[in-house]
């Protein structure tokens, strides 16, 4: 038995989940905008913890790198440039309340729908003997590690057992994501790159002072 199936993971899940929800609630209830931004970072961190428990280490690390290390810190930077922060911000009129509530309800409905629609596969069960799932994982690896492929390591050979297949999927999430990005979804990837570059240049153009030298 490995550690994954044990109570340790359950306890860790509940700690992280409660942290994420509590931090998210505090973001919208705390009046001090600086603390709200800090709690936002805490919520992002807790989400990264959830990713770790799902064994998506790459997503977890990228979540910390981008959302905690870059996005939140820039939000805090902006907040610090604003005066009178502990006084709190003005609340909008009833329109904002209703619009915000509608958006929240729609988002929640979407997430719940997606959660029920998803075909959840318990990977511990797969290792415990669901041959179909294990075969699917192994097969995927054989396909990706086809000869002449260049650079992708052979993880699950023809004789790979279920444990290897299961380990293999999680050992190299970053490599698999990279392969998907530059092979299967290369067009979307490139389009997003161009959009981000355009946004970057646009931000520079907007922020540039008119009439300033260079």
């Amino acid at each position: 038995m490995s550690i994954e199936g044990s109570a340790v993971v359950d306890v860790a899940f509940w700690i992280v989940a409660v942290m994420a929800i509590a931090a998210a609630l505090l973001v919208v209830t705390v009046r001090d905008v600086f603390k709200a931004a800090a709690f936002l970072a805490a919520a992002f961190l807790a989400t990264a913890g959830l990713f770790v428990l799902l064994r998506a280490e790459f997503l977890a690390v990228v979540q910390v790198l981008i959302y905690v290390g870059a996005v939140s810190i820039l939000i805090i930077f902006t907040v610090m440039l604003v005066r009178n922060v502990p006084g709190g911000n003005r609340t909008g009129g009833p329109f904002y309340v209703f619009a915000g509530a509608a958006a929240a309800v729609l988002l929640a409905l979407g997430i719940v729908y997606a959660a029920f629609k998803t075909d959840w596969t318990d990977l511990d069960q797969a290792a415990a003997g669901d041959d179909r799932v294990a075969a699917a994982l192994t097969g995927q690896y054989q396909a990706e590690a086809a000869p002449g492929d260049g650079g992708i390591e052979l993880i699950g050979g023809p004789a790979a057992d279920q444990e290897t297949a299961r380990q293999g999927v999680f050992r190299r999430t970053a490599n698999n994501l990279g392969t998907l990005f530059i092979r299967d979804y290369v067009l979307a990837f490139e389009v997003i790159s161009v959009v981000l570059l355009a946004a970057l240049i646009g931000a520079l153009a907007l922020a540039r002072e008119r009439g300033a030298e260079t």
Binding site: S6, V62, V64, A70, I73, I76, M80, A174
Partner: protein
């Protein structure tokens, strides 16, 4: 994956003395026969082992910090033609302990205007991320806590969290000087993280893996030679990211009193100091692992000694920088990052990309060819950039930073 640290013999012995011999990691039991717990209690053995390892790592880091603080004070004193601490113990070796007692017995002052929660959390937040870095560093041929498949990214991510400490300290103190220090810390972090990550990609393109264990394993030629440009950028970026001199303008005592830790005293101030020096050691360990082939060396010394030698060499270089160079201005620092390091990192990325396209899995000979090409590229590009960015003869640089980063300019100062 999560229990992969049990591959280390020492950790495995701890675990197997506790866990039942029926558990798959401990066939045949531990060195003292069967484990203490019955089958099914592996989680408890796992937890205890994890706590033992955390205890060891934290205390080793603290001990290393104390030794390093002594070493750095002595060395900087030598570089500046002083004697340094030499009163307490042989060669002043017990000075850190005396300092610690002094810090612990000092009064803990919280300013009346401070935001207590934020103010008290900041010193904790500087230490935690640095300790997390030590989890993925392979200290010897078989000693590491976690072999993460995203190790390199993990280090960058965890270190970037450290800037929250400066921001929270600056904000929590409700003090202009502390706030200015926090602004500078964030400006530094945002500027230097980008070239650092870009410089690392060159290494990752050669190894094809982000696991630090794999990076050391593939490092048949030290990557400081194969990736000289990346090495320099990463070294400068690390010194800037942990805000050591000459990049210590977030706590520049001549302008900002103490920067973001102006209002701290006692053990909280001590935590800031320990966190900064621990970050220095962590950065040196990262540089050793990524660019100086980690624990690898020749056979006549054990692998952890090799790691230690390289670590001390990097720390020596960093202390040398500290003892030699004057502090830079904030506009110089950010301009250097964006106009100097970022183009160099981009160039390094392109050259490394082409080279690893030619040799997808380089052997030792190809690595040497790469090293020669990259050294030539580094020399030419640094020289060209120096011509483009450097001051013209007789030119006097004036501060161009915004009022946010610069204290009011006094008349009559050179």
């Amino acid at each position: 994956m999560t229990d992969a640290f049990l591959e280390n013999a020492f950790f495995r012995n701890i675990y197997c003395n506790l866990a039942s011999s029926a558990s798959p990691r401990c066939a045949g039991g531990g060195p003292f026969g069967d484990g203490m717990f019955p089958a099914g209690m592996e989680w408890l053995a796992f937890l205890i082992t994890a706590f033992v390892i955390i205890f060891l790592v934290v205390n080793a880091a603290l001990l290393a910090v104390n030794i390093y603080i002594w070493g750095e004070r002595r060395l900087v004193a030598r570089l500046q033609a002083r004697l340094g601490p030499n009163r307490w113990g042989p060669y002043g070796l017990l000075t850190p302990i005396a300092d610690l007692i002094k810090i612990l017995t000092k009064e803990d002052i919280v300013p009346a205007a401070a935001d207590r929660l934020v103010f008290n959390l900041a010193p904790v937040l500087i230490v935690v991320p640095v300790l997390l870095v030590f989890a993925v560093i392979p200290f010897a041929s078989s000693t590491w806590v976690a072999d993460l498949n995203v190790g390199v990214l993990y280090i960058i991510a965890v270190l970037s969290v450290g800037s929250y400490s400066a921001v929270m300290a600056g904000w929590g103190s409700q003090n202009r000087y502390a706030m200015l220090g926090a602004f500078r810390a964030v400006a530094l972090l945002v500027s230097y993280e980008l070239p650092m990550v870009l410089a690392l990609i060159g290494v990752l393109m050669i190894t094809g893996s982000m696991s630090l264990v794999d990076v050391v394993h593939d490092q048949n030629v030290p990557f400081a030679l194969v990736q000289p440009l990346g090495f320099l950028i990463f070294l400068i970026g690390s010194v800037a990211e942990i805000q050591r001199p000459p990049f210590d303008l977030a706590e520049a005592e001549s302008e900002l009193i103490g920067g973001y830790h102006t209002d701290y005293s006692g053990i909280k101030w001590g935590l800031f100091q320990a966190g900064e020096f621990m970050a220095t050691i962590a950065s040196a360990a990262i540089i050793t692992t990524l660019f100086l082939s980690g624990w690898r060396g020749w056979g006549f010394l054990p692998s952890h000694i090799w790691f230690l030698i390289k670590l001390v060499a990097v720390l020596f270089a960093m202390t040398w920088l500290r003892g030699t160079l004057p502090r830079l201005r904030i506009d110089q620092v950010t301009a250097f990052a964006w106009k100097g390091l970022l183009p160099l990192a981009a160039l390094n990325l392109v050259v490394s990309g082409v080279l690893s396209f030619i040799w997808p899995a380089p052997g030792v000979a190809e690595l040497w060819v790469m090293a020669i090409v990259n050294l030539a590229v580094a020399a030419v590009s640094i020289f060209t950039l120096g011509l483009l960015l450097g001051p013209r003869p007789g030119e006097r640089t004036t501060p161009a930073g915004s009022a946010v980063f610069m204290p009011a300019k006094r008349e009559g100062t050179a």
